[in-house]
Symmetry: C2
Subunit: 269 residues, 2 copies
């Protein structure tokens, strides 16, 4: 199934634009799990089981797994296997390399890990993205305007009448004629999000930054969605998966996810 179909079906089934970020940091796990053989996987499985009827996607960030070496990579692969197949998995990798190498990354994420989508950096341009477009059922989300303070260092440089991030959005709209592309746009910059949605009315948007980073949820929903109130994937990581560090962590994560889904849906209508 194509990524967009899969995303819309999961979103409809669960009445949700919420994406749960599986940024599982070993040092933040509930104490009772830490002595298990594979605490990261155990934790993720419980989170997935508790939230799988509330989300439109999951987004593991690879950094948290790579920090654990080969064992972390295995835990990531098993985590992706534990996610019900009708829910898309966006691997947050923010990669970008010359074509020859980007091809190996596409193989790593799509074939080896079994992800449905991946995030990439635009800095190296089209040939760093092209190999990902060769997988017709997958989707590549290009960093456009990020949620962090450092976004202002280069993304805001003004060139030929518009900032770099708008140039990125315009190019990605063109690239999307050759395969599924989306944009990553932080919820911390609502006015800019509105403008980027005008530039790319039909692309899926992955929107981080509403939780610990303090982004504006109402604006993320209002300006991030398309005309049908769809195609915004609103991510929360820490606010959900670390809602409690007790034995009830999965139950609390479910409550946090449910609450956030409801708030999103309130703004959506």
């Amino acid at each position: 199934m194509e990524f967009i179909e899969q995303l819309l079906a999961a979103s409809k089934k669960n009445d949700s634009l919420l994406c749960v970020g599986l940024d599982t940091d070993v040092s933040k796990l509930p104490k009772h799990l830490r002595k298990a053989d594979n605490p990261v996987l155990d934790f993720n499985r419980e989170i997935i089981e508790a939230t799988a009827d509330l989300v439109c996607a999951y987004k593991p960030n690879i950094a948290f797994y790579e920090a654990l070496g080969a064992g972390g990579w295995s835990a990531l692969k098993q985590t992706i296997e534990a996610i019900p197949s009708h829910i898309p998995v966006i691997v947050d990798a923010k990669r970008g390399d010359i074509g020859n190498t980007a091809r190996m990354y596409a193989q790593a994420f799509y074939q080896e890990l079994g992800a449905d989508a991946v995030t990439v950096s635009p800095y190296m341009g089209f040939d760093a993205v092209e190999p990902f477009l060769e997988y017709p059922d997958k989707c590549v989300f290009v960093l456009c305007l990020t949620s962090n303070a450092g976004a202002e260092d280069f993304q805001y440089l003004f060139s030929e009448g518009s900032p770099v991030y708008e140039h990125v959005a315009e190019r990605v709209v063109q690239w999307s004629k050759g395969g599924c592309c989306g944009l990553v746009v932080g919820a911390t910059r609502p006015e800019q999000l509105k403008k980027i949605r005008q530039i790319a009315p039909q692309l899926p948007f992955l929107i981080p930054g509403i939780g610990a980073q303090g982004g504006d949820l109402e604006a993320a929903v209002r300006w991030g969605t398309d005309e049908q109130g769809q195609l915004a994937i609103i991510n929360s990581s820490r606010g959900i998966i670390y809602a409690s560090d007790g034995t009830n962590f999965a139950q609390k994560a479910r409550a946090a996810a449910e609450g956030l889904r409801e708030r999103i849906n309130l703004y959506r209508k």
Copy 2:
């Protein structure tokens, strides 16, 4: 030992600015190795043994290892362990993420893998780089002007009188006051390399693109080095490690590395 000291010492000992890129692609390995338990590691060990007295650094690109999953990650770690400790290892990862996540990447590359330096993307700005600066003996190489065609998509956008890649070079010079920073500048763009060296006279430059990508070796040496003829790390991957696909591959890799080192040194004097 600090990275720059380590680099200069290895460069002096081996009379070399050559960096060998360990971009080991399983599908390109000599046939006699493919049936081994760990063909990538066996291949890398032989390449390292054959070239360790000819280089100033090694640069494995993580993509080739991630394409093999957890086993690839182990092979990468064992490869780094097989490199003599006096030769710096630059892990080519081109990462970039918000501070919280960049910290996990720094942990992955510096603590888990034991690399001496890492490449990062500038797109997300300073807070994506800062966590790497917290390791005083390491060095972070920021993508400035890349060797591929797609470099022209965004790196050349002109803003406030100069292209984006010059803004990056200027910022990285500032960042380097807080820790060791270098720049990645492709050998395929000699005029621009010259200009970037003027902006950043004292930073180490990692220069890819002279082999399969057709960059200008003479210009890479002339404009890439600093005033002392140092601090240019000139990378070749495919031209060396795949010099032969026969049983004599390591011997041929040595010959290719020796020839390239000599050509570099010719232009250096």
